[in-house]
Structure formats: structure tokens, C-alpha cells
């Protein structure tokens, strides 16, 4: 640790990256790149991927319904910071100057952010508690089941015995913006749609907090227990590790970050629909974790950036190129093909290719690399503990 090389790697690289992230809005403005919006969405996905990384990467639980927590977080903001519950008139520290006179519930975004995390964690525990005794693949399917039920519930929730809880497929619109009171700048008192800097710095802080928590957890007593459970449940139990609570922590903590990300996204996009929270999103997030390297924090961030970058920038760009080529060759097929529509082909192919060729991801976690590379077929571990 004392060597300058090691400390440069330990502190220099993160410091450089954070500096770059802090300066990004200025760089963007100087270059006139107009990338603020996509970068904010990418950051939301970085947060989601880091949350899922706790569950999949650290604890080794395959969660195919992670989108559920994202949706729950978004709906918390939708319900409590909009005119949705028009029968009620309640306001609490809202950034909206007129919130007192508007119908609906208007609670401060910052309060709701924490509430969304807690709400998602609560559901994480509710979903997790009965299911975490299951074998890995069954657990994955149960999480998928929940992930499918929750958006369908939001679709059907406009008529629960006549009560409109979720406004169905139309979704909740006009979600309040966050704001920081007592700041001289008006753009910060209520985040607007023209100046995206407040949004950017908010999500940046959220991402940094997520990274920080990921790192601290990885190196903690709980982090060791996660690896132990992932490697050999039987041995872990014999060492005194409570399998259920250990997994439940992973589940709840992962869900919390999903909830945070959902809350931010809801406020940022201002309207939420059940269709934004389909199974595809769960798979996209999983794909980010797998591509980057399960368990490796840098890897997961890179995976999220690559895949959302592909979605936002690369595929539309390729589409334009292909159309140009098609026009030049006067091929109507190439000139009209809609390439971004097939993005999930790419994600599916990435999942298959990574598992076949480089299961440890682009930036492997040292331990995960060893695990995934070994021919370990031994599942008796889970089966024995299933009986206890």
C-alpha cells in the first residue's frame, strides 16, 4: 500500500474519475455536445446496476425482477408529489411555490427519495423472506414472477374495487420537481427542464453514495458473509452465518438503491407508466452487471455506461449509417430498417456470449473469475441447507 503506484491506483483513478464527472457539465457546454439528458439517464442505470450488483454480484442471488423496486420507487414519487390524489390537499416542504393551493399530495422530493428507498427495501424483505430459502434458479423465477406482477398491478390499479390507485396505463403525470430551498440560484430552488445541472449533480451524488456503500459493504463482515454464502451455503451455515438474514440484507440493500433510482427517474421524467417497468428492463440491468463483471464495482459502472451508451447513441448512429448506405445502394430494406428496435437482440447476444466466452465480465472481480471458471457442479450445498 505504501508504494506510490498502489496508492495512485487506489486513490488516483477514483479521484480522476470524480473530477471528470464534476466537470462534465462544463465540458459538455464547451463542446456543445448536448449530452446532459442521456448522461443523466445513464447515471440512473449505473445506480440500478450497482444495486443489482449487491444482489447478483456480491450475494450470488439471481434477481430477474429487479425492475419491481425501480417501479415502486418511481410510484412513491408519483403518488406523493403530484396531483394524482386529487381528493386530498396536502403539502410538506414541497419545492413547488404553489403547492399549497394545488390538489393532491406534494411532499418534498428529498423526503420521498428516502421513503422510496425504504418502501422498496420493505418490499424487498416481503418478497425475499419466504423465497430466499429456495434454490438459486427457483429464486430467480420467483423474482421474475414478482417483477411481472408489479407492473401488471400498476396497469390494473386504476380500478381496485373502484378506487384509482395507479391511473392504469395512462400513468401518473406532472410529477413535481425537486428543489433545494435557501439556495440563491432559482434553478436550484426548483429544478427545471432547461437547466439540467441540478439534476446532474443530484444523480452524481446519488451514484457516488451508491459506489461508496457498495465498497464499504464489500469489505465488511456482511460482505464476507455474502461471499461465503455464494460459495458454499452449507459451510457458511456451519460457520454461524445466518443464510436467510444474510441474503435478506443483500436483497433489501439492492432494493433500496433500486427505489432511489426509481424516485429520481420519476421526478426527472415527470411522468411514469407501467410499461416503463417491463421484464426487459430487468434483463437490461442484469446484462449491465454481467457484461461489466459481476461483483466488480468499476466493471458494473462500465457495463451500464456501455449498454445505455449503445441504446442512446450507438444504435441510432448505426441506424443513420445503414440508412445512408441503403439510400446510396438504393436498397429500400436497408434505407428503412429500424435497428434500435432490435436492441434486445444485442443484449441477449451479450448475455450468451459473455457466459460462453468471458463469464467474469470485462473487468472481472478476482473471486468471481475463479468461481465462474471452475467446473464446479456441486449443488449439494444448497440442497442440504434447503432441508434445515
Amino acid at each position: 500500500m505504501a508504494s506510490p503506484g498502489a496508492s495512485l491506483k487506489r486513490f488516483g483513478l477514483p479521484a480522476g474519475l470524480i473530477l471528470l464527472a464534476l466537470l462534465f457539465p462544463f465540458i459538455n457546454e464547451v463542446l456543445g455536445a448536448n449530452l446532459m439528458f442521456p448522461v443523466i439517464v445513464v447515471a440512473v442505470y449505473v445506480m440500478l446496476a450497482l444495486g443489482l450488483n449487491i444482489v447478483v454480484g456480491f450475494a450470488g442471488l439471481l434477481d430477474l425482477g429487479f425492475v419491481a423496486f425501480y417501479a415502486l420507487g418511481a410510484y412513491v414519487v408519483g403518488w406523493f408529489a403530484s396531483t394524482h390524489f386529487s381528493g386530498v390537499n396536502f403539502s410538506f416542504l414541497s419545492a413547488l411555490p404553489t403547492s399549497g393551493s394545488l390538489p393532491g399530495i406534494h411532499v418534498s422530493f428529498w423526503v420521498l427519495l428516502l421513503a422510496a428507498g425504504a418502501f422498496a427495501a420493505f418490499w424487498g424483505v416481503i418478497i425475499g423472506a419466504p423465497t430466499l430459502r429456495l434454490r438459486g434458479d427457483y429464486l430467480a423465477i420467483v423474482t421474475l414472477g414478482f417483477g411481472e406482477i408489479i407492473p401488471r398491478f400498476f396497469v390494473n390499479g386504476d380500478d381496485i374495487f373502484g378506487y384509482n390507485l395507479t391511473n392504469g396505463t395512462v400513468g401518473i403525470k406532472g410529477i413535481d420537481s425537486p428543489g433545494i430551498p435557501f439556495v440563491p440560484s432559482r434553478g436550484w430552488q426548483q429544478f427545471g427542464t432547461l437547466d439540467l445541472n441540478p439534476w446532474y449533480y443530484t444523480i452524481l451524488v446519488l451514484v457516488l453514495v451508491t459506489v461508496f456503500v457498495n465498497i464499504r459493504l464489500r469489505d465488511s463482515r456482511l460482505g464476507r458473509a455474502w461471499i461465503a454464502v455464494r460459495e458454499d451455503e452449507t459451510a457458511a451455515a456451519a460457520m454461524g452465518v445466518n443464510l436467510v438474514t444474510t441474503k435478506l440484507w443483500a436483497y433489501a440493500l439492492g432494493a433500496t438503491f433500486g427505489g432511489f433510482a426509481g424516485a429520481f427517474y420519476g421526478a426527472f421524467i415527470k411522468s411514469i407508466f407501467p410499461t416503463s417497468f417491463s421484464f426487459n428492463v430487468s434483463v437490461l440491468i442484469l446484462c449491465m452487471v454481467v457484461l461489466g463483471g459481476m461483483g466488480n464495482i468499476y466493471g458494473v459502472i462500465l457495463g451500464a455506461i456501455i449498454l445505455q451508451g449503445t441504446n442512446f447513441y450507438l444504435l441510432p448512429q448505426i441506424n443513420i449509417w445503414v440508412h445512408d448506405i441503403g439510400t446510396a445502394l438504393s436498397s429500400p430494406f436497408l434505407a428503412n430498417v429500424d435497428i434500435p428496435k432490435y436492441n434486445y437482440f444485442l443484449f441477449g447476444a451479450i448475455l450468451v456470449a459473455m457466459m460462453l466466452l468471458r463469464p467474469e465480465g470485462i473487468i472481472p472481480n478476482r473471486q468471481r473469475q475463479e468461481e465462474l471458471r471452475e467446473g464446479d457442479e456441486d449443488d449439494s450445498a444448497t440442497e442440504i441447507t434447503g432441508a434445515t
Partner: protein, 264 residues
């Protein structure tokens, strides 16, 4: 130590009428069994006699079909493996089950899990208390590695030589500060020198640390040299019990082993 003296000492573990049935097959049949404090008890018997099944029931990985376990005065029959580990039952596995992709040191730290208190919030904030606890845990883990005679700390457990893996498993089990340590064929696959060193180590655990030991072992020289008492299982039933000398001369034991005995 004569058997009468052993019977007089308090018991760390009592098994009463333990039976385990696997889909119609009786693996262990109403076994009564006691382990005194500060004693080394060996469990021997031909292959398939139900020794490992019994072990798994003591450590809580299997639930007995009937019967009960009392550990240190508490009925632990209904407790899971992790709860028993917390109360002080530690174990190793016949087919080594280390956390292969953790370093030797981290394996021992993982074994210390129940003896550490750091909570989630404390770990995230890394409070002074958590920091101190982690440092102390590291110190103790290094001490344990020295105690079992392991020099490599940072190597992945799966990359250690076989004998070192066995020793690391014992260190990991000791990290949970057991009152009763279950060793499942600890000398399997070791050469005579390694076996001798390990036998000595097991003796030290009892003498220096006051740990009771339940030992499954095929190596008869080990069993005869360090056991205070020996219990023999055959076809899931206890057929003999006594001092090593008594058991060795018991005709039922000789019969059970005839033809099936592994060369020891």
C-alpha cells in the same frame, strides 16, 4: 484417563435416541451418546455406518427424524446450523469445504462471523468501533493461522496445498470459538509426518484451549493415541463404546470391521 473419571465430568453434548431415516433407509438408529467437557471422543465404524450423518445432525445440517440434542445444558434439537455455531459447535468437512475464492485470512475472518458484532450501518460508516473490531479480528485470525502452522495468508484457499487446506479448515472452525469441535476425517490424504503434526495439534486444542473434540477418523493410530473414549457405529447403531483399549478388544467391533476394515 480411565472411563470412570470421564463419566464424572460434566457433559458438553448429549445425544438422546437420535434416529435419522432417509426415505425408508435408517441411516442412524436411536443412538445415545455423550461428550464430556475437555475430551476427545472418536466416532469410528465401517464405511456407510452413519458417522457423517450423525455429524451432520450434531452440527445442525440435518434434522434428526427423532431424538434430541442437548448442548451445554440447552436443547438445540430444533436449532439450525448457524444457531448451533453461535452456541459453540464448530466443524470441518470430510471433503474440505473452504470458501475457495477467499484468501486464507478471509476464510478465517468468515469463520469469526458470529463473534463479530459490526452492523450494516456501522460497516458503511466504518465507525471507530467497527474499525477497531476489524483490526482485532485480523490480529486474531493471523494468530490462528500461526497456531495451525499456516504461512500463506493471501493465497486463495483453493490454491493451497491439500494439507494446508485441512489446516485452514481447522483454523476457520476455531475462529468461531467453538466449545465443541467436530472434525470429519481431518487426516484423510495426509502423509505420516503431516498426520503426526495434526494429531499433536488436536491434542493441544483440548489441553491448551479446553475444547471438546468429536473426531471421525479412519486412521486407527490417530484414534488410539489421542482419544479419551471411542464410540463405534455400524449400520447406524452404536455397537460399542469405551476406552480405546476396550473398544479394540470388543469382539463385536472386530466382527463389524472384518472384511470391511480399511487398512489403517
Amino acid at each position: 484417563m480411565p472411563p470412570e473419571a470421564v463419566d464424572g465430568t460434566p457433559k458438553i453434548l448429549e445425544a438422546r435416541g437420535i434416529t435419522k431415516v432417509f426415505g425408508g433407509l435408517v441411516a442412524v438408529n436411536s443412538v445415545n451418546f455423550a461428550i464430556p467437557e475437555r475430551a476427545i471422543i472418536s466416532l469410528i465404524g465401517p464405511n456407510g455406518a452413519g458417522k457423517t450423518t450423525f455429524f451432520n445432525m450434531v452440527s445442525g445440517l440435518y434434522k434428526p427424524t427423532s431424538g434430541s440434542f442437548v448442548f451445554g445444558g440447552t436443547d438445540v434439537t430444533r436449532l439450525g446450523a448457524h444457531q448451533r455455531a453461535r452456541l459453540g459447535i464448530g466443524r470441518t468437512f470430510q471433503n474440505i469445504r473452504l470458501f475457495g475464492t477467499m484468501s486464507a485470512l478471509d476464510n478465517v475472518l468468515a469463520g469469526m462471523h458470529t463473534r463479530l458484532k459490526s452492523g450494516v450501518l456501522g460497516s458503511i460508516l466504518r465507525t471507530p468501533g467497527v474499525r477497531r473490531e476489524e483490526e482485532e479480528a485480523r490480529e486474531r485470525a493471523l494468530e490462528l493461522l500461526r497456531f495451525v502452522g499456516l504461512r500463506s495468508r493471501e493465497t486463495f484457499a483453493k490454491n493451497l496445498p491439500y494439507g494446508d487446506q485441512r489446516r485452514l479448515e481447522i483454523a476457520r472452525a476455531l475462529a468461531s470459538e467453538p466449545k465443541l469441535l467436530l472434525l470429519d476425517e481431518p487426516t484423510a490424504g495426509m502423509n505420516p509426518q503431516e498426520t503426526a503434526r495434526l494429531t499433536q495439534l488436536i491434542g493441544r486444542l483440548r489441553d491448551e484451549r479446553g475444547i471438546s473434540i468429536l473426531l471421525i477418523e479412519h486412521e486407527m493410530r490417530v484414534v488410539m493415541s489421542i482419544s479419551d473414549r471411542v464410540t463405534v457405529l455400524d449400520h447406524g447403531e452404536k455397537i460399542s463404546e469405551g476406552s480405546p483399549v476396550e473398544v479394540r478388544e470388543d469382539p463385536r467391533v472386530i466382527e463389524a470391521y472384518l472384511g470391511t476394515a480399511r487398512t489403517g
